[in-house]
Point group: C2
């Protein structure tokens, strides 16, 4: 059983997931994805994954066979387990709970070489809708407090299966980093009676230097305090605390701006590895005026090194103004 | 001039250091260290670095020539600049200050192939003493609030020069991660009237499963909530808030346990890349009962991926009990 353990000093949780073991005799010291001869996520190979949880399928096609365009399966090597009790208890001065949670894989296309930004628009909307459906579904389990939808693209980003996919992890705790974001947004609202995301959008649209694309319901910006070169945020103009409340119209607009962002990174920087995260509010926080869901994209062009790990302080060699200007300058 | 910029939501600072630019036309997409034909840090090549700030030298040898065994120089591509004013000001809703700080390189041996753990003991003590001297010296600049001494070993850890070295960054702010550690330790002390590091040592020595080595004034442990496989902490048994107060006896004992830790990682895991950080208290916090300096070593055996970046929540596939047992089992 995986465990959640909390550092008593920083209060940060770690998942000790020994079933994904990196053991002394089997250490992964090479980090590059070795493309397997066969993609376990491709059409026709549905038997290579656990049975599907959800799929967007051609009418009449049977589950766990071809005919799908978006497919959701449990992670074969989950960091967390769905079955069991939390068993919260102290271990001396430490905090322990069982590693209860969901760990799903969302395969956005049966084509092993697909790129999200090149999918037909309606197909991409189906993928974004699938993210929404799965995030919403997991909230019914009262053990879960938070869900994180993320996408590691490319070996340098930590992807271990070359066939593109997103992952969804539902957790029995709210991560410290998320809590800080929530606390910061709430404090700003208390001081100003305004949503901080509205103020960020207003300033970035007025200023223009860090604005990559202004797409009606969404803005695409290189954030002022970008942690890494070419960090991008997609922020809704409309107010919504949680991604799961997005309707089809909103997801269509989101698909447009997401495809634009990923396409510019792809063409401008030569298909860089990236980490993408949907930052949504915790389960139960259904509508608060001070927080708004948004998407963060962090290309993986430099290494996170000792200084960053030791201080949480990022050194970014590329100004977001320069990144935004470069991305804007690419032909449409 | 580099800039410090603060995310208005998370309150986390980033250094925008455009003089270390990663520009679209010059992106580092390969991340492995290419060993240069000549080490700029080797004996005889002193002219390849900026003039030295400090050195441990043979009597009679001249600065910036051979004859040294530990040498400190300014970083040739510093993330921060020593000259100038902080110029703290708002940029709309954001916080800006100039990237004022020190960025030094501490070369612990003139031998391009040296390993810290294989240096003669007295030589290693000189290196640890040099860390101490430089951390102490920078506190005299009242613009600096905090210094981080770190060491990136191996290309996977972010090292960009193959010749081993430590780095020292002095900052005009206390990083958010450090502040959280300080806050957590202080809160524990308020609740219990005991230093949390004393309680951790007591529990780990009693329990034994995560104890790698008990070396008198220092314990070497795999921390309970280890973020990465084989994370190790060296914690002093004696009370000291800041590393800079360590005396020669203490540094001799530290050299012993540090060499043991790095030697076991080297032999047990095949010279893995690692990040090492000395976690000391901020400048001005000279002696508080609730905090204690310590060393954190994070081997780089798995990748930090989207989930970690998005949540601050680490997934660690190796239990610290297993890591400690393996490291203990190696022949001395």
């Amino acid at each position: 059983m995986p465990e959640l353990r909390r550092c008593p000093i920083t209060r940060r949780w770690a998942i000790i997931a020994t079933e994904r073991a990196v053991r002394p005799n089997g250490l992964r010291t090479t980090r590059d994805t070795v493309p397997p001869a066969i993609s376990p996520f491709a059409a026709g190979n549905e038997h290579m994954t656990p049975p599907e949880i959800h799929a967007v399928r051609a009418p009449g096609s049977a589950p766990n066979g071809p005919g799908w365009r978006v497919r959701v399966v449990p992670n074969k090597h989950p960091a967390l387990r769905v079955e069991g009790d939390l068993d919260k208890r102290p271990v001396g001065l430490y905090d322990h709970m069982n590693g209860i949670g969901a760990h799903e894989v969302i395969i956005e296309s049966p084509d092993p070489d697909f790129r999200l930004q090149r999918l037909p628009r309606e197909h991409l909307v189906d993928a974004l809708e699938t993210y929404r459906v799965r995030m919403q579904d997991l909230q019914h389990d009262s053990r879960f407090k938070f869900a994180l939808l993320f996408r590691n693209h490319g070996a340098a980003s930590g992807a271990t299966v070359a066939h593109g996919h997103a992952q969804l992890i539902a957790l029995p705790v709210v991560p410290a980093e998320t809590q800080r974001m929530l606390d910061g947004a709430q404090q700003y609202y208390r001081s100003h009676e305004r949503n901080i995301f509205d103020d960020i959008i207003r300033q970035e649209v007025d200023d223009g230097r860090r604005l990559v694309h202004d797409a009606g319901p969404f803005v695409l910006i290189a954030p002022y305090a970008s942690r890494v070169p070419f960090e991008l945020w997609i922020v809704p103009r409309f107010h919504a605390t949680r991604y799961e409340t997005a309707n089809r119209d909103q997801l269509e607009a989101l698909a447009g701006v997401l495809a634009l962002a990923l396409d510019r990174l792809d063409r401008g920087l030569g298909d860089p590895a990236y980490n993408l995260v949907i930052q949504s509010a915790p389960y139960g926080m259904d509508d608060v005026p001070w927080y708004r869901w948004h998407i963060q994209i962090m290309p993986n062009l430099t290494r996170v090194a000792g200084f960053e790990l030791g201080s949480g302080f990022f050194i970014n060699p590329t100004a977001p103004e320069e990144a935004a200007e470069f991305l804007r300058s690419l032909p449409a």
